[in-house]
């Protein structure tokens, strides 16, 4: 599903990722861990084409990054659900509208949108908040709206950047369960986190990044 070969990314002359190579199988749930600034977010951004590598090759779902034309990027991103670290919710739209946006972008007809959005809000336990605006929600609730928006279109790949941020252990466990459930349906899930509790005893592969280099891979 994801293949990185000797990928290097440089910001302002400093390498954020150094000759990174790894492979993620289709249908896998995998964790990327490391301190802040280790390069976790950069790695995810390279996957969803928000950044270009300075060197190396990236292949997503069989397509090499350097063969993609700018006009194709939106269509490739539609196969990817993203849980952003900074949420990126639209403050002036309701929870429902924020989640529905992912389907509208994909050109889904209005009558099909409502049942799918409401079902996804049920999965993240936010159905009762569908008419609320994001600024009125708690951090955990906002995080679940972002997850709902990322999974509503049933993407082939789900990327989550620090999905449990500053959440309490109970909420974090709930979020991990959602990831496991969607992964069980066949979606490949990549979670970047520094929250050890999230992957300990998960039985999944964990990549450890230190200053942009992959220093270890283990199964937790």
């Amino acid at each position: 599903m994801i293949l990185f070969e000797n990928v290097t990314k440089i910001f302002e002359g400093k390498p954020a990722l150094k000759e990174l190579s790894f492979h993620v199988e289709k249908g896998e749930l995998l964790f990327i861990t490391g301190q802040s600034g280790a390069g976790k977010s950069t790695l995810l951004k390279l996957v969803y084409h928000a950044e270009r590598p300075e060197a190396g090759s990236i292949t997503i779902a069989g397509q090499r990054r350097d063969t993609i034309r700018p006009g194709e990027i939106p269509f490739l991103r539609r196969n990817i659900g993203i849980v952003f670290q900074d949420f990126r919710l639209l403050a002036t739209r309701t929870v429902y509208e924020n989640v529905a946006l992912a389907l509208r972008i994909r050109g889904m007809k209005e009558r099909g949108i409502k049942p799918q959005v409401m079902e996804t809000l049920r999965v993240v336990n936010l159905r009762h908040k569908s008419d609320s605006y994001p600024p009125r929600l708690s951090g955990g609730e906002q995080q679940r709206v972002v997850i709902a928006r990322a999974i509503v279109a049933e993407p082939a790949l789900l990327l989550a950047d620090e999905p449990t941020g500053n959440l309490d252990p109970e909420t974090s466990a709930g979020i991990l369960k959602i990831f496991k459930d969607i992964n069980a349906k066949g979606t490949t899930v990549l979670v970047a986190t520094h929250n050890r509790d999230l992957y300990t005893n998960s039985g999944r592969r964990v990549f450890k990044l230190v200053e942009g280099s992959l220093v270890g891979e283990e199964t937790a």
Binding site: Y48, H49, A50, P70, G71, I73, P74, F75, L76, R77, R78, I80, I82, F84, R88, L90, T92, L101, A102, R104, I105, R106, E110, R149
Partner: protein, 290 residues
């Protein structure tokens, strides 16, 4: 384009309604001034087209011109390609015309023992020949002819009206283009500001997989609606000023009766506003990079 885009555009407009209302008013004022200028140029152009049809030259003949020479003169004139019509007005006919025009003041002619009016030939020239230089040259040629005393054609009037028309057309065109550019700039800057304010939202949409057109659509709609609003206001102002006020004042100022206001110029303002708004927004958005 779907209902979501329209809802999004209307929401965006409503959120900052006063700023957008000012943009609408700026466009309306600009379009209204453009319409004023256009109607002025249109009327001048109309006058320029109609002038040759009304233009005539009068060739006054010397006393005692024999009928054979008059006929020869008429035949020569009619043979000229530039002359559309040449009619002889005898001394008696000229006096009769004068008497007709002095219907209530005939006593002015009572003391006259003989007819003081000269015989003349009235000439209508072909439309394309009514130009200052060509008419002047033709008048010179006529003056050289036998039995011709004087040629009158309102040289000063022809000179001034033609220079005013060419000047007005040039100034009018520059003025209209400048104002049109100004209006496009109002739409451009309104949408550009909106776009900058929504930069975060645009970035999110891009990351969620939205295409350039999906992102542009609400902004294009907003620009078009602002332009349409400006066009509607300008159209309404035009309708009240030209259709109602001018007709109302025509009684007091008869010259206004000759003023032509093409209705299509007023009714097409909303469509023009919409097109300008759309164009301004399109330029403001430019290429969306991924």
């Amino acid at each position: 384009m779907n209902p979501y885009h329209l809802k999004s555009a209307l929401g965006g407009l409503w959120k900052e309604k006063w700023i957008h209302f000012l943009s609408v008013l700026s466009i309306a004022v600009g379009l209204f001034i453009i319409t004023l200028g256009f109607i002025a140029v249109y009327n001048l152009h109309y006058l320029a087209v109609k002038l040759p049809e009304r233009f005539s030259m009068t060739v006054y003949l010397k006393e005692g011109v024999p009928p054979d020479d008059v006929n020869k003169l008429l035949a020569d004139l009619k043979a000229n390609n530039h002359v559309q019509k040449a009619s002889f007005i005898s001394k008696d006919m000229a006096l009769l015309e004068l008497k007709k025009s002095l219907k209530d003041s005939e006593y002015l002619l009572e003391g006259l023992e003989e007819n003081p009016l000269p015989a003349s030939i009235e000439i209508k020239l072909g439309k394309d020949f009514v130009k200052t230089a060509s008419v002047k040259q033709f008048a010179g040629e006529l003056k050289e002819m036998a039995w011709v005393e004087e040629v009158q054609y309102g040289e000063e009037f022809l000179n001034s009206i033609q220079s005013v028309m060419s000047g007005a057309k040039a100034v009018g065109t520059v003025f209209l283009v400048a104002l049109l550019a100004g209006i496009i700039f109002v739409c451009y800057s309104t949408v550009k500001i909106l776009f900058y304010r929504k930069a975060d939202e645009v970035e999110t949409l891009k990351l969620l997989g939205a295409t350039g057109w999906f992102i542009r659509a609400p902004f294009l709609l907003e620009g078009s609606i602002i332009g349409l609003g400006g066009g509607l206001f300008a159209g309404l102002a035009g309708f009240f000023v030209f259709e109602l006020s001018l007709k109302g004042f025509a009684g007091a100022m008869p010259v206004l009766r000759y003023f032509i206001v093409p209705a299509w110029a007023i009714y097409s303002l909303p469509a023009i506003g919409l097109a300008i708004g759309f164009a301004g927004a399109l330029v403001a958005l430019g290429r969306i990079r991924f």
